[in-house]
Amino acid sequence: MSLLRFCEWLGATPGSIALHNSLYAYLIVSTVHVVTIALFAGTAAMLDLRLLGAALRDVPLSEVAARLRPWIVTGFLLMLVSGGLLFYANPVPRYQNLFFRTKMLLLVLAGLNALAFQRQTGRSLAAWDLGTRPPTRVRIAGGVALALLAGIILSGRMIAYDWFDCRRPQPAFVSVLAGCVADAR
């Protein structure tokens, strides 16, 4: 089953239709998703700013990471559940939304950046944990993480603007990027 077929099937399930047509449930889920930016992106940004050497300089990086991790993880789980429900309410339009695709790509890149950072710096951490100005590659990782976070927020906001909706005439490259072509049956 292609992803599009899966989204079509998902969008036809009773739960998806009910959430799509609900007034308050959808409003509550989308409010949770937006307000959780303060928790998830807020705590993640503080950690990234520490990597940049721009915030909490007097606190060892390992301590900032350990103390903030539960809050970042909690925020991320809330984002994942509320975001998953928002997708569930509109699977096909989201799947074919260019900004949604951009956001998913940026999310994957942010995950890879965090993973690469953990693998590379785990061993050398002791050498600069207390330093107010982390090594260049650490600051680059923090800057990249911050930029990706900003991109995720911006592209997430843009999902609501369906300028590139497949149901309207679009330039060929937009149709390809948004996966509209697969829908032409």
Binding site: T31, V34, V35, G42, V59, R67, L154
Partner: protein, 153 residues
């Protein structure tokens, strides 16, 4: 009062902003990036006052550091928020959520820069510090939720 709101919406800059396809959504996006920053700056201190988060550090250290980022986030939030307000000022005038947000914002700012600042600088972990943190979270939380409702069509 209403005539001021009507004037806001017709200011030249704002008319140009509403005509532009990209400008309004991008300003919304930057406003949300500010939400992340202000969330981080507020939570750092409130979690610490609750005995959570960076609990091995003195409250005053965390508060001093968070203060700078609170100012940065306000420098992002207030101008972008004002532009978003101006673009649909008349709608805001009739929207209870907008007035709730403005009242909560005024209360949150006043509370943060007076009582909370003094409690955080004193750095005492006590029941009153926890109360201050909860009041702060409640006020800023109201600003955020009401803000989301203002944006809902």
């Amino acid at each position: 009062m209403l005539s001021f709101f009507e004037w806001c919406q017709q200011a030249g800059l704002i008319v140009a902003m509403r005509r532009s396809l990209w400008l309004f959504p991008v300003i919304e996006g930057v406003h949300l990036m500010g939400l992340a920053l202000i969330g981080g700056a507020v939570l750092m201190v409130d979690l610490r006052l609750l005995g959570l988060g960076l609990r091995n550090q003195p409250v005053s250290t965390v508060a001093r550091d968070a203060q700078r980022w609170l100012m940065v986030s306000l420098a992002v939030m207030l101008p972008t928020g004002f532009l978003l307000f101006m673009a649909s000022a008349v709608k805001c005038y009739y929207l209870p959520a907008f007035w709730v947000k403005m009242a909560a914002l005024a209360a949150a700012l006043a509370f943060t820069f007076t009582i909370r600042r003094r409690v955080a600088a004193a750095g005492l972990a006590s029941n009153s510090a926890r109360t201050v943190a909860l009041v702060s979270l409640l006020l800023w939380g109201t600003v955020a939720v009401a803000g989301r409702l203002v944006g809902f069509p």
